[in-house]
Symmetry: C2
Subunit: 191 residues, 2 copies
DNA sequence: ATCTCCATGTAACTCGTTACATGATTTT
DNA sequence: AAAATCATGTAACGAGTTACATGGAGAT
């Protein structure tokens, strides 16, 4: 620990960024793309949230970026994690889990769906089915490519962690899809 | 629609409250309890969020509450949904799904876990295993009691909607638990 | 009478999203 | 040169959490 004084705790997003940078340097825009859609990471954020977070991380000395050449050149800052950053990330992984509340809008809609026509509910579910089917296909494609191209590292490696989260994504989508299809069948047959 | 003029859209929490009230009148505190832990509804909120939302809902005429007797009596307002409220809820269920980003802190920790010792990761996962096992037990108990006590209404009924969300909860916890256990095994055996 | 809990409400602050702004790079 | 796009940033606002405040009900 190089910095002194009591600093306020960092938001979870900061650790999501550190987790990305622990795999190698990235620019803000690259992080933005990786945090856009549910890739293996399961933590979404917009660039408008990312850039201020990068400032705070740099201020703490958890990340650094060589100044982007001379003024006049296009500024494409590339950040990398510091040893303090890795230490902070390591400490956070083992820290007590925060009581983060989880919300699921589709579940809520299904819970409320008994007040509306069956057609509306089925339409809602068909939309959800498409979304989850597409996402599952995406995940399966990712897993296939990472299996064939290179070896899957041993447990404890970065590539294994990638695979573990991806595996959970596949399991989630499969379970969700099965449930949606069961519900559609139930509503249509009236059983 | 009785109200005129362009009013700002209501937050999802408002519809969660309407979904609860569509099943019968409740007080603020009762809603607070139902929105506390992940019961079949999957939408959490604190009382400090609920009471202002109730004011807004009443202002719109989507819920009503008979004034609580004379002043001097303990104020325990009981709210009930209006016909306009049911109509609003019905419209919301069929409305296009909002692009709500989903975040999963356990997944993020696993994604980052390769920077720390295996013991720490396994400890994190064991905690998660306990949490999910307890929750699964809770859900299974709920399902068992609702199965034996009264008949499970037909698809389209409120009791069926309750059961459908509960069923998804069970599926989610089972899938999550299987994944956590697979990950623990993998880390411990090093396979 | 006092104390504690219950029920409702308010305030302050952080997190997160949408929209706006700026300049540099590439395209037409 | 003008237009579209990329990359970074800022502003305004809404959503959500923690902490504080109020007053009645029941217990000792």
């Amino acid at each position: 620990m190089t910095s002194a004084g009591r600093l306020p705790p960092m938001p979870t997003l900061a650790y999501a960024i550190l987790a990305l940078l622990s795999r190698g340097p990235l620019t803000g825009m690259e992080m933005s793309h990786k945090l856009r859609d549910p890739i293996g990471l399961y933590w979404e954020a917009r660039h408008s949230q990312i850039y201020p977070a990068l400032s705070r991380l740099a201020y703490r000395g958890w990340i650094t970026s060589p100044e982007p050449a001379a003024p006049g050149l296009r500024p494409r800052r590339r950040y990398e994690i510091t040893v303090d950053g890795v230490a902070a990330l390591r400490a956070w992984v083992g820290s007590p889990p925060s009581r983060r509340s989880h919300r699921d809008e589709l579940l809520l809609r299904v819970y409320a769906s008994w007040v509306c026509d069956r057609d509306v509910t089925v339409g809602l579910l068909r939309q959800a089915e498409t979304r989850h089917r597409d996402r599952l296909q995406d995940y399966l494609a990712r897993r296939a490519s990472s299996h064939t191209s290179r070896e899957l590292g041993p447990p404890g490696s970065a590539t294994f962690a990638d695979y573990a989260t991806l595996r959970r994504g596949i399991g989630f989508e499969r379970g969700r899809l099965a449930w949606v299809r069961w519900l559609i069948r139930s509503l249509e047959t009236g059983a």
